[in-house]
Symmetry: C2
Subunit: 223 residues, 2 copies
């Protein structure tokens, strides 16, 4: 993959609440950590739901990754694919590799679902009163998985041995936890800070944000 | 992995709504399709939240898979690990493999989250009135991803070429869609039927159900 022609898809603009949180971020981050050079195809808002893009991304989302002209999708799948090609993201030892794989899925299929549910209630549901009534129950579910994560991390800097793709997935999931739930868990807050202070993360974030700033006038005048 | 000593963890009993839907099902199914022999460690209800199990499964869930004495967790991670070791579950061609990987993550991180949210509203939330008010909005989100899946499947029997681990993940996710949303999409219903009629699925399901039947008296007398 190192010497392949790689292209990530990203948006030219998203609403403010999503800026810095779109899922091309973790793909850019993984590519930066791996030291793989890549192109970015910046897609105008709306084109993600049109047939040409649906052909490579059936749900009309970004990111996709093109590898020498063939395409794959889902940020989790893509970062795992990148990790398979880079010793910077995946340990060589089989047992450690299995733990990293386990944590990649735990991040996306155990930790993220209640966090995403909380975000759905706050951002996407129109019955705001019913959503507000459910928030405490869903926040308690988020707290439950966060407490399990904190216990598993203990005082380690990374979730499995050295830095790995599992930390990329977990950090991008955990930085979307509401501040009240994050800040009352100092080791969780420190875990996120430790990883978002990495140069590769900062480069990835700046890359995602650049077109949003350039296109702000175009989209924000219209709203 | 074929000649490894493999042990899956499962429960000795779960409440009726969960019977046949616990996540060791997809691991058993993958092992059956691959033709790998395995042991099952049946855990008494409650012990999954105790320290010995938390050491191998940080969230106190099942399944785990022990491979020659070392453990991994998360059903998605485990079935991917099994697929890597079996040509019955993963195509040899790189492009097809990347598509299968993409669909494994799409199943668990794009299709399942709204389905799980619907289940959470119906089963786990105590404010039933607020939950009922939100159901139509969340059901619309489920319908959205189901329609995208149906369009991507078109009239193919499996999601990527021949049967693969992606079909195991997608089928186990999609059979938890409420009947009203499933049955109004004939190709989706047929997709689930096609895969749940496979002998390996039936063996896996019977394996999960067996201890629930045997232990019904023990647990159901007490409730």
């Amino acid at each position: 993959m190192k010497d392949s022609n790689l292209t990530v898809t990203a948006y030219d603009w998203v609403p403010h609440f999503a800026q810095g949180h779109v899922r091309d971020l973790r793909v850019r981050w993984a590519l930066e950590e791996a030291g793989f050079s890549y192109n970015v195809e910046v897609m105008p808002q709306g084109t993600q739901k049109k047939p040409p893009h649906l052909k490579r991304q059936p749900f009309g989302q970004i990111p996709t990754l093109e590898i020498d002209g063939r395409s794959m999708f889902e940020s989790g799948a893509i970062v795992w694919r990148i990790a398979e090609a880079s010793s910077a993201l995946l340990p060589g030892d089989g047992a450690a590799r299995d733990q990293v794989l386990s944590w990649v899925f735990a991040g996306l299929n155990t930790i993220e679902p209640p966090i995403a549910m909380l975000a759905t209630l706050e951002l996407f549901v129109t019955d705001k009163d019913a959503a507000a009534r459910l928030r405490p129950e869903i926040a308690a579910m988020v707290a439950g998985v966060l407490n399990r994560f904190v216990a598993a991390l203990a005082d380690a800097p990374h979730i499995v041995g050295d830095f790995s793709v599992a930390d990329i997935v977990l950090t991008t999931v955990l930085r979307d936890v509401p501040a009240d739930l994050l800040n009352e868990r100092p080791s969780l807050h420190a875990y996120v800070e430790r990883h978002t202070s990495r140069p590769a993360f900062k480069t990835a974030l700046a890359g995602q944000m650049k077109p949003f700033v350039e296109n702000a006038a175009k989209y924000e005048d219209a709203t």
